[in-house]
Assembly symmetry: C2
Homo-oligomer: 308 residues x 2
């Protein structure tokens, strides 16, 4: 639904001379003069869709509502500056809930040095929705966009993928420091964070870049959670299936020129592993390649809010 | 509830070196270098509280969701630049609803030269909520804050007040051009837009400024809507009561040094009337003065989301 809405709106939405990048990336970019531009992103989390308020500590919900936005700033290789928070609270217990949400947000904001600059608080007879808008600053290396991947670039991911639903989808660390460190030390062509699943987010990236990608299945870094989830569910989905399809890893997918990527992989400059999982190609589309070298179209699995 | 929440959070919320003004005003201010700072504000509108979706054209809802944010930028005497939009839609008919909301927003964005720079679209089993974050630029005259009113300043309002519920609460014109024109031509000390009602918003302003205000009741400009509403309802609320208490006029309350205010009132530089309705005083609090000169505390009426 969101993809279709963006497709239908993209040409219609009004622009502004200071708008350098509009809808369709992890964040928008506004001209900031003197080198540093401003990066703006918004994400809304809702009860029963993104969390079950009767089963999760609201502090974790508050933390996540800010963290997903920090992850979008990370995907733009930008420094977080400020956030504003819009809440709509169920009437009963609203004040306690609001305080708990902020109690979850504040330590994360402090950890990442971001101001909570303002907000709007409402109540109603409906369930909880939390909307956070985060604003960051680009660095001298510029923003990392979705549309810069070139055929021949290698696909690099941070961390290990899959099974975030076992807990990591709440308690993940946004890869802000990692993105800034990588952008500082290496030439990066494009990036996106994994919110909808590796396959789907890689599909977004190649679509924006006007190229394709081949994923080497044997290289995909699989998290222990993906293994546990596969064991627990025993529904035929392998750990690799989870690594490809599960959403909310909030790791980074990067397009890196081949020589840079090889240096990056050899140096392993982060506290989390950085893995080369394939390459970008000229032909549009998404492929998977198995260990025998056999290539087939990759099913674009992964979460999208379904509405029609 | 919002007032209490802000009071409880204000000292706890983390800041950032670029944050010049945080929670408690119509918008936050971020240091933008080279004179122009960035102004950020967020407002969320919700079904059954701010509108009844089954009785109002969703294009009017979309327009209003952007317009209330433009009014906040006006209250800061800032130039609108961009907005991002977070939606949570009921599952049934969500796509059509989303398109209608944007159809209402886009013409207003074009009229005010603001980019719609991005968004987040979700669906759920709950009612519609629309959250818009708007970003503006300060001018060389600087932002108009709530905390600058000084004893001796006169209270100036734009337009005529009360009865907005008869339709103006949807179709109002945000006073962006008016605020910029006034800030350009006159020295203004402070400002706020009327969203919660003249009395309540003036109370916000004097609280932030650390002073008080006396409203000359005979001077308050009363809209025709306030007269009609008083007639229709026949509940004992006079047109003046509506002008003082009704929310969502989205006119401006300004604190203007006395000589400037007299020049402003004489020149009437706007297409809408500009009226002097009283003065700021050193003693904290809000008073009303009748035509005989009798002064009494002004009841702070006006809408606030009630939650406890």
């Amino acid at each position: 639904m969101e993809t279709e809405l963006i497709a239908r709106l993209r040409q219609q939405l009004p622009s502004h001379p200071l708008l350098k990048l509009g809808i369709g990336d992890d964040a928008a970019i506004l001209d900031g003069a003197q080198g540093a531009d401003w990066v703006v992103t918004v994400d809304m989390l809702t009860d029963q869709v993104d969390f079950l308020l009767d089963r999760v500590d609201p502090r974790r919900v508050g933390r996540k509502a800010l963290a997903v936005n920090l992850s979008d700033l990370a995907a733009m290789a930008s420094r977080p500056v400020a956030a504003v928070v819009a809440l709509v609270l169920p009437r009963k217990g609203g004040m306690e809930l609001a305080l708990a949400l902020y109690e979850g947000m504040i330590p994360l904001a402090e950890e990442f040095g971001i101001a909570i600059a303002g907000g709007d608080t409402n109540s109603w007879d409906g369930p909880l929705a939390v909307s956070v808008t985060a604003i960051g600053h680009t660095t001298a290396r510029g923003p990392l966009r979705r549309d810069g991947a070139r055929p021949g670039d290698l696909i690099v991911v941070t961390g290990r993928l899959g099974g975030s639903i076992l807990g990591r989808h709440f308690d993940f660390q946004p890869r802000v420091g990692e993105a800034l460190a990588l952008a500082e030390r290496y030439s990066l062509h494009a990036g996106i964070d994994i919110s909808d699943g590796l396959a789907r987010d890689l599909a977004h990236l190649v679509e924006e870049s006007g190229c394709g990608a081949v994923v080497d299945l044997a290289s995909v870094p699989i998290s222990e959670d993906a293994v546990r989830l596969s064991d627990q569910r025993a529904d035929g989905m392998t750990p690799l299936d989870h690594a490809l399809a599960d959403g909310e890893d909030f790791e980074l997918i990067l397009a890196v020129p081949a020589e840079e990527a090889e240096r990056l992989i050899a140096e392993q400059p982060l506290d989390v592993p950085v893995t080369m999982i394939g390459r970008f190609v000229a032909e549009a589309g998404l492929w998977q390649q198995d260990s025998s070298g056999h290539r087939s179209p990759m099913p674009v699995r992964g979460f999208e809010h379904d509405l029609t």
